[in-house]
Amino acid sequence: MLQGWVIVLASFLYLGILFAIAWYADRRADVGRSLIANPVVYALSLGVYCTTWTFYGSVGRAAASGIGFLPIYLGPTLLFALAGFILHKMIRVAKTNRITSIADFVASRYGKSQLLGGLVTVIAVVGVIPYIALQLKAVSNSFAILASYPEIIMPATAGAVPLLQDSALYVAMILAAFTILFGTRHLDATERHEGMVAAIAVESVVKLVAFLAVGIFVVWGMHDGVGDIFAQAATVPEVARRLATADSPAAYGTWGTLIFLSLFASLLLPRQFQIAVVENVDASHLSRAVWMFPLYLFLINLFVLPVALAGMLHFPGGAVDADTFVLTLPMARQQEALALFVYIGGLSAATGMVIVETIALSTMVCNDLVMPLLLRLPMLGLAAHADLSGLLLEIRRWAIVIILGLGYLYFRVAGEAYALVSIGLISFAAVAQFAPVVIGGLFWKGGTRDGALAGLAAGFVLWVYTLLLPSFAKSGWLPDGFIAHGLFGIELLRPQHLFGLTGLDEITHCLVWSLLANLGAYIGVSLQRVPNVREARQATLFVGGAEAAGIPGWHSTAGVGDLLPLAGRFLGLARAQEAFARHAQQRGLRGITELPADARLVSFAETLLAGAIGSASARVMVASVVKEEPLGIDEVMNILDEASQVRAYTRELEQKSRELTRATAELREANARLRELDRMKDDFISTVTHELRTPLTSIRAFSEMLQEDPKIDLAQRTRFVGIIVSETVRLSRLINQILDLAKLESGRAEWTVAAVDVAEVIHEAAESLTVLFAEKHVTLEFDGCEAGLIVLADRDRLMQVMVNLLSNALKFVPAGSGRVTVGADGTANEVRVRVVDNGPGIQVQDQEVIFDKFHQGAATTDVLTDKPQGTGLGLPISRQIIEYFNGRLWVESTPGAGAGFVFTLPRQAGDNGKVPQGDTVPGGGRGHKLPGGNS
């Protein structure tokens, strides 16, 4: 019944069903009702980790080393225990940066470096090709074994079969066709393949059910349960050894190494990254996968050891390859349907792996290897090409074909030398080289592009030398002399015992050296310099922290007019327009045309393009339409230290605000002062006007009367002319004093400063007023006023003050009984002069006001019946003069008991400082008024 055509038909039927599922899921996704937006689907799709290596190889490894197959599944379990720290962060970073592959992730992290993306791609392709070869080998072997039913014949080695009769070639071709159908039907900006994920989830179910079916059949169909198998195994010494693992340090070391290796492989293998990170619909699905994916691994491994033991018991002597026990045990019991189901399960495991792996690799090859090269070749003129989306798909299709071709080539050349598990481990060791740059890049901001390049290169070279080349040599493809004797016959360079390191298996040996070199170069070279602008920016985006949110990706702008055609060339115009419209909608705008030409739009366009051609190429393409202004070192500092910068700005702002408030208050105060000054000036001018007009009024009135009436009698006429003369004198005096005051106040007065004897000035002033005192019958007395009271002053100005004070006093004392006393004495520091009268005195509230300009009238009329004569400028002028010489002038008075005007001047060093004695000068006679005012 199991003729070749039945198997082929079943295979195609199965693949057809898978494709139908994928097609349906894509359709659902297009109408926005995703089939895969479900945590269970996500967890199941992660089962792509389990390939034919698991399906067939685990049993083989269990037959060879007992429980030793298990670490490969314990590692991923432990990885998912760290999901909250690693996977969750990777998904978040990948989503915000539209990361399309592991190469894109690394390139983007280290400053969007095309070189780095290319290196990761090369390592991934070279590293994973053996793994793809493994799938081809498994599928073609399982087909050959099943086709020979009911005989159980191990297939001939691949090299012995002519090329065109090699089923593995046809398997490779069919898988390539299906992968192209699944993965490159259209170009999606997000680089997500909903249909593929749905198909992978179904495949995971199929292979799990198939394996469990075999397990149940073997344990309960062929034996009486697990206990029975173990009991039987214990009786056969050769089998019993597999019940425990080798109890040596090296064995435990290998065990630990494998856990560690598989932990990283389940994260860093291109297909794992694709499914776990790129195809992730919603980061919250991760929490279900945290336990569901390990549970899947647990279930698929549950029967591995029992099946392996049963196979060994059933096919003693090693005639049947342990890798085929899953298939050959049902065949041996003529379970055709189960055998076919197992074959489909194996096919499932192989196709799932190949499809996802090659799609991931082809994306990397296209975005990080081919496109950057093509875009740099000016002769192709691609940079100016109108629509590149077709070219992108074409490149990916060819990449898929070439990758599978290389896989087949490896299978032909090296595949036969190794068991399935060993081939897989070579790939695991290759992708483990990504671990330092990926994990370091997520948590360490100091990593640089140079460090990443150095680390990856060093690790890759050592991997090639210690693992890949020996695998070629063991296949006879290379002379194997260098394995035994070292390169150039140097013992220390033996690839599997490098620098004399022995006692380790080849995988552990490779990992020790390659990861040591990788990590050392990555950290060592990174520490050679601080990250540059772009690296620092990307580091902040990836490593994160609170400050990552506000970092601008671009420092310049470009409009929709530039960016939309650019995106259209890679995505197709319709898709690009749709994406731009969505972006506009998200920003609350009505349409594409309203999108402002800002940095956010540029970042959006770059991210959109990154989804199609990878971040590094996207950056180059966007840069071609946007002339980015270079970031200055200041901005680098901003980015590196955003948070503290903001704090500093806030502080500065607060300070500025406080200064502003203070300045405003000062301005307001100054303004008020100016207003007050303006008002005072207004009042002053108004008062001056009044003072000038008053004498003018008399002069004009009397002049007109004299002019009009010539018949005025002589006595009248003489009186009128006298008034005119005295008013004219008053007017002149007023004008002089105003000018004087103006000079004093503006500081333009001329001073002749010299040592002056105050007593001399007092006597001289008194002398000049003797006549006036005599006229009013006022007594003038001296108290002290001895010579030798020397001050530094202008003698004439000091005289002006003395005359003013004396005439003031004279004005206010009653005629006849009036008495004015002038006193002068000195202390060590100053000379003090007093002019005391027995006049009416000055009210307390007026004692300061009288020193204001024109403040005569109202202030003193309470105690005066007559309006005092004078300009009201004498005291202000006197005070200005005294203060100019650093002295003080004030009044001491009790109303009704006279007033005393006092001034002090700083004493000039060198005078005798004698105590003055009393002196009296009598006054008498009559005369006209003197200059000065009572104020």
Partner: protein, 66 residues
């Protein structure tokens, strides 16, 4: 939810526990002959502790999600 720091830390604790369970020296304790309810002790220990760990992980993430 994994986003919760407490959940992430509980899971990380289980990671450390798993590293201890699945490695030397604990493995050497079980790596011997004899049987444990008809199973080899090492096999029983690894499958048992693995399942227990998965159950713990499920409890940690699922008990938080509602």
């Amino acid at each position: 939810m994994i986003r919760s720091r407490l959940t992430a830390q509980r899971l990380a604790f289980l990671f450390l526990l798993g590293c201890f369970f699945f490695n030397y020296p604990l493995l050497s304790v079980f790596n011997r002959g004899g049987d444990f309810f008809g199973l080899p002790p090492l096999y029983a220990w690894l499958m048992g502790s693995w399942l227990a760990l998965i159950a713990q992980m499920a409890w940690v993430v699922e008990s938080r999600s509602d």
